[in-house]
């Protein structure tokens, strides 16, 4: 008994000593700073509750940026922001219903599938709750009764990417879809095809975006099987990084271009692993969707004059990466 106590005490001592000695001088959690990137003042308007409901696939970094934008607006506007998500349309509809039941002061919602979610959004509008839409569903936003829409038109941004690929001389493009069933992603690939206008062919491949190793091995197999692929067009930042990994393992000389960004992707553009990214400014989407509700509730304003407010596309490449990198470090670009 005594022996084991001593052993335990010794083990404890060693652990404490190790943990004291083993401090890393680099990396780790940064010292506390303003968390959402926009540490401005705070409105003195009455506190209101806004529900943000998205079709986020669990673990997709893109949505962290959207959420940060929403939280920044909430902090400034004295808003209690309640975030929830499901990439199953029927469950997302239930989350919207819950927000209606809760009688929130506003709903900011993405709409990847109007057939399934549209009726519930309409219900919210009919219940007198102001609704803004963002990121997905721009074509249906105003017929559903939303106050505004903040996002990019996926076909337009896909076309912009396709035109750029054409200029760069791409002949065989692999379009990587990471969540089978999302119309948005299909639209982007369609846009790329339209932008290339016949000067290059586009093939689609479906991968499971929630599993990085599966994405890497699928792409690896595809690149080995078809050596003539000269461009891998991914539709999300984590997928682009997987594509870079797949390329480093094989002999293919294909280039990588992508939609959307995150912190790691900015590094990959700086190092030249990824050529460029189509940026739709997700931070802005989240920020505006919440801020527009606050403006409406406190001053009756609407943004966009009955038209979608486009937050993209713009390109991030080596020429402008330095400016973006600073903000990406904070996780807001």
């Amino acid at each position: 008994m005594i022996r084991s106590n001593r052993a335990a005490a010794a083990a404890l001592g060693v652990t404490v000593a190790l943990s004291l000695a083993a401090c890393s001088s680099s990396g780790g959690k940064p010292q506390a700073t303003g968390d959402t990137g926009a540490a401005a003042g705070k409105a003195n308007t009455p506190r209101m509750t806004i529900a943000m409901i998205t079709h986020q696939q669990p673990g997709d970094t893109f949505w962290d940026i959207i959420r940060k934008g929403g939280e920044a607006a909430a902090q400034k506007d004295n808003v209690d922001l309640q975030y929830s998500n499901s990439n199953d349309a029927s469950k997302q509809a239930q989350l919207i219903q819950a927000a209606i039941d809760k009688k929130v002061d506003g709903i900011a919602v993405t709409d990847p599938n109007t057939g399934a979610i549209g009726p519930t959004i309409k219900k919210a509008v009919n219940a007198g709750i102001p609704v803004t839409m963002f990121n997905a569903g721009g074509d249906d936003a105003f017929s559903l009764g939303a106050l505004g829409y903040f996002g990019q038109n996926e076909k337009v941004s896909g076309r912009a990417a396709g035109e750029r690929l054409k200029k760069e001389g791409a002949k065989n493009v692999l379009c990587v879809i990471q969540d089978q069933g999302q119309q948005q992603l299909e639209d982007r690939c369609d846009g790329v095809i339209a932008g290339l206008a016949g000067s290059g062919k586009v093939k689609r491949v479906y991968v499971n975006g929630a599993d990085n190793s599966a994405v890497t091995s699928t792409l690896n197999a595809r690149l080995t099987q078809d050596k003539s692929i000269d461009t891998v067009m991914t539709l999300g930042a984590p997928i682009a990084l997987d594509a870079v990994k797949a390329l480093s393992q094989g002999s293919s000389k294909a280039k990588v271009a992508t939609f959307d960004t995150n912190k790691e992707l900015v590094g990959a553009i700086q190092s030249g692993d990824v050529q460029w990214a189509v940026d739709q400014q997700p931070y802005l989407q989240g920020y505006l969707a919440v801020d527009a509700l606050w403006l409406y509730n406190t001053n009756g304003n609407t943004i966009g004059g009955g038209q979608a407010v486009l937050t993209g596309p713009s390109f991030i490449d080596k020429s402008n990466i330095a400016k973006v990198a600073k903000y990406a470090e904070k996780g807001t670009r």
Binding site: T49, D80, Q82, Y83, S84, N85, D88, A89, S90, A93, Q94, L95, Q97, A98, A99, D101, K102, K103, N113, G115, A116, P119, D179, Q180, G181, Q182, Q183, E186
Partner: protein, 345 residues
Amino acid sequence: MAVVAPPSTDDRVTHRSVTATLLSRPEIGALLGVIIIAVIFLAAAPAFRSVDNIGTILYGSSTIGLMAVPVALLMIGGEFDLSAGVAVTTSGLAAALLSWNFGLNVWLGVFLALLISLAIGAFNGWLLHATGLPSFLVTLGTFFVLQGVNLAVTRLVTGGVSSNTISDMQGWNSAKAVFASSLKIGPVDLSITVLYWVLFTIVGGYLLLRTRAGNWIFAAGGDAAAARAVGVPVTRTKVLLFMGVGFGAWLTGMHMLFNYNNVQSGAGIGNEFIYIIAAVIGGCLLSGGYGSVVGASLGALIFGMTQLGISYAGWNPDWFKTFLGAMLLFACVANVYVKKKADQR
């Protein structure tokens, strides 16, 4: 040496106290869970206290409960069905794609979907019997097969990844009334799925506890060899139980189709575990031969209350699954503990 007088009555037929009988019921853990969860959210979430919102909570529970009841019966019969979640999507897709592609009356598509769902159940049961493999493996296979079929067939037929709209086709409105209407009772908006769920629970509970088929289910799940030896048609019972899950998948799938206008080919994956969790919270043993239909429905109610309660309370939904896992462990431990205490009396 003192001679102990033999007891005047056989101890197997002595009268047990009402509390002991009550506490040894398999659904007692789930009932405790329902009460505790309800109290927590009644205290924490103002929207949870409003009578108007009972309809939303019951609706969320009913879409799980419709499947939890047949899944619980199957588990009492000693088997799992991991394909139950995607089978719901298969059924919805079948009705939508068949109607759209061949220009059928929607009701005919609904009927064909029923046949397909029952056939999937029968196939699971037959394969289990023919191969002698555990149902965990057999249905895991079906799970992957159906997942692929859902995606591939949808793309072949529609060129997209979700079913096309069929709301302009003949029979849609009447079918929608049957599968996806809602009734207004006072301030409560009650979805028709809640009625089906209650009906399922009553029929399932009666079947299990009051009929010969119910005894067969318990016997087949408790000890299949012994059951066979006393003349229970074990194979037939199990095939029918799998077909029961198929029927539940059909009804749920039809609701999904008619309520949400289209079916996404990737939906339903992961729900099979939610059905199993509801059944286990409700007192079903993983080894079979023990459990309760009412308990499974209470498990579904716990799930529905938690899912919406977290949202009503404005808590961070990131923790939802953690909360659910803790609830599952609590219900299981409570089940075992209460049962042991009650049996000691």
